[in-house]
C-alpha cells in the first residue's frame, strides 16, 4: 500500500469508477478469545478505517467488495455478506480527506471532479484467523486486527458500520451457522461453542449446546480426536456441505 492507493481514492479514477458509490468491508475474526475486526489506513498519517473503495463502472457490488478487500489487505476469495447501505448525505466527504493532506499531495487533486457525497454498501465476513495472510510491507502501520471492544477512533461513520455489521452477523447466525467459514476444516465442539460465546457475548451451557447443534445434522463427527491437550481429548467434527444443503432446503434454523 502506497500513495498510489490514495491517489486512486481521491481521484476516484474518474474514468473507470463510480465516484459516489463505494463498498466497505467489516472482516471479523476470533483470535486469543477475542472478536476482532480488520482495520486499514490509506497512509500512516491518516486515520484508521475499514477496508473499502469505489465500485468500477462495469462491476457488480459483490465483485467490487472482494476486489477492494484483496487490494487493500491481501485477503482473497471469501464470502462477503452484504448487510446494509449507508446513505446519510453527510456521512462522507472528500473535503475531509483533502483537508488532512499535505500541500504536495493537495496540488495533484482536483476536488471538483469528485461527487459531493458517497453512499457505501456494507459487507461483513467471518474468517478463520489462521488461514488469513495479510499482505503489504507496512503491515502494522496500515493494516491490523483490532479487538472490537478496543476500537480506536475511526474515520467517517465506520464505527456505526461496524456496530451494524455485528448486529447483522448475530442475526445471520440463525440462518447460516458459522462453522463453514470461521473454523478450520476440522474442529471440536468446545471450539465451536467458544465461537458462539464470543460472538454472542454470553455464556452457553455445554451439554445443551452440544445436543442442539448436533440435532441440526450438519456436522459429521470424525474418528480422530484433537491431540496434545492436557486432559480428555475432544472429538473432531467436520462441516458437511451436503447435509447443510438438505437442512437449508427443509427450512431449518440455527438458533442458539
Amino acid at each position: 500500500m502506497d500513495q498510489k492507493a490514495l491517489f486512486n481514492l481521491l481521484e476516484a479514477n474518474t474514468q473507470s469508477m463510480i465516484s459516489n458509490l463505494s463498498v466497505d468491508c467489516v472482516i471479523f475474526t476470533i483470535q486469543e478469545g477475542k472478536l476482532k475486526v480488520l482495520l486499514t489506513k490509506l497512509l500512516p498519517k491518516l486515520g484508521w478505517m475499514l477496508p473499502g473503495g469505489f465500485i468500477n463502472k462495469d462491476e457488480a457490488a459483490d465483485i467490487a467488495a472482494n476486489r477492494v478487500l484483496f487490494q487493500r489487505t491481501g485477503v482473497d476469495n471469501i464470502y462477503l455478506h452484504q448487510f446494509k447501505i449507508f446513505s446519510d448525505p453527510d456521512r462522507f466527504s472528500f473535503q475531509a480527506f483533502y483537508d488532512k493532506l499535505e500541500n504536495q499531495i493537495k496540488e495533484s487533486v482536483d476536488l471538483s471532479k469528485l461527487s459531493e457525497r458517497v453512499i457505501s454498501i456494507g459487507y461483513f465476513a467471518l474468517v478463520d484467523f489462521e488461514s488469513i495472510h495479510l499482505t503489504g510491507g507496512m503491515f502494522d502501520e496500515v493494516t491490523k486486527w483490532t479487538e472490537l471492544k478496543l476500537l480506536p477512533d475511526l474515520m467517517f461513520d465506520h464505527l456505526e458500520i461496524i456496530n451494524e455489521a455485528l448486529k447483522a452477523l448475530r442475526k445471520e447466525l440463525h440462518f447460516k451457522p458459522i462453522a463453514s467459514n470461521l473454523l478450520p476444516e476440522k474442529f471440536t465442539m468446545p471450539e465451536l461453542q467458544s465461537l458462539y460465546e464470543i460472538i454472542l457475548d454470553r455464556l452457553i451451557e455445554r451439554s445443551s449446546f452440544q445436543k442442539r447443534v448436533l440435532k441440526w445434522d450438519i456436522y459429521e463427527r470424525l474418528e480422530e480426536k484433537r491431540e496434545g491437550v492436557a486432559h480428555k481429548r475432544p472429538f473432531l467434527y467436520r462441516f458437511d456441505a451436503k447435509k447443510y444443503d438438505i437442512a437449508i432446503s427443509q427450512g431449518i434454523r440455527f438458533g442458539i
Copy 2:
C-alpha cells in the same frame, strides 16, 4: 401520474438527483387470502414495474424510498425495510426505456446525460390493505395490486427483486412480528394465523400457534369479540408497543 414523471425519470433531473442510484419498493399486502404486491407503470404503454425512483442528491436512501413510494402510489409514511441492493451492471439501462418511447418523446431526451448503469436499493413493506388508499386517476392502468403467484412480465430485474424481498420478509418475521403493520388495530388470533400461513405458504396447527404467539407477550387480549360471524366469536387482540419494546430489549425471537 402523467408523462412528467417519465421525463423526470429519463432526464433523471440531473441537477437534483443521483442518476446512477435508485430505490425500488416491494409493497406486500394480503387481500382475499392472497399475498399481493403493488405494481406500477410509468405510462400505460410501458411495462409493469415496482414503484421506484432516483435518490436526490441531498437525501438519505430511506427518505427517498418513502418519497418515491408516495409520489408514485400515494402510500404514505410506512415502515420500509431495506433488504438488499441490486448492482448487476446490466440490470438496468436507460437505453431500454428509450427504445420503447415514441419519437415525440425521444426528441426531448438526452441519453448522453444519463449514467450507463443504475444500482438500486431494495425496500419492502407489509401493509394493511384496508388502510392503504392509492391515488392517481389512472388507477387500474398504472397502479395495481397483483397476486404474487400471478405476476405479469416485469421490467428489468424486478421479478428478482420481488423474490428476494419475499425471502427477506420471511427471514425478518423472526425478528419483527407482522401484526404491527399488516393488520388493523384490532384483530383475532385466527386472522393472525392466516397471515402467517399465507406469508410462509404452509399450514400451521391452531392450538400450538396460539400458545406460542401469546407467550411472546406482545399482544393484549381485549374484552370485545369480533361481531357478525356465523359461529363462535373470536376474541380481539391488540398489538402492545410497550410490551413489544420490552420483548425486543430482552432479545426475544418470534419464530413460527
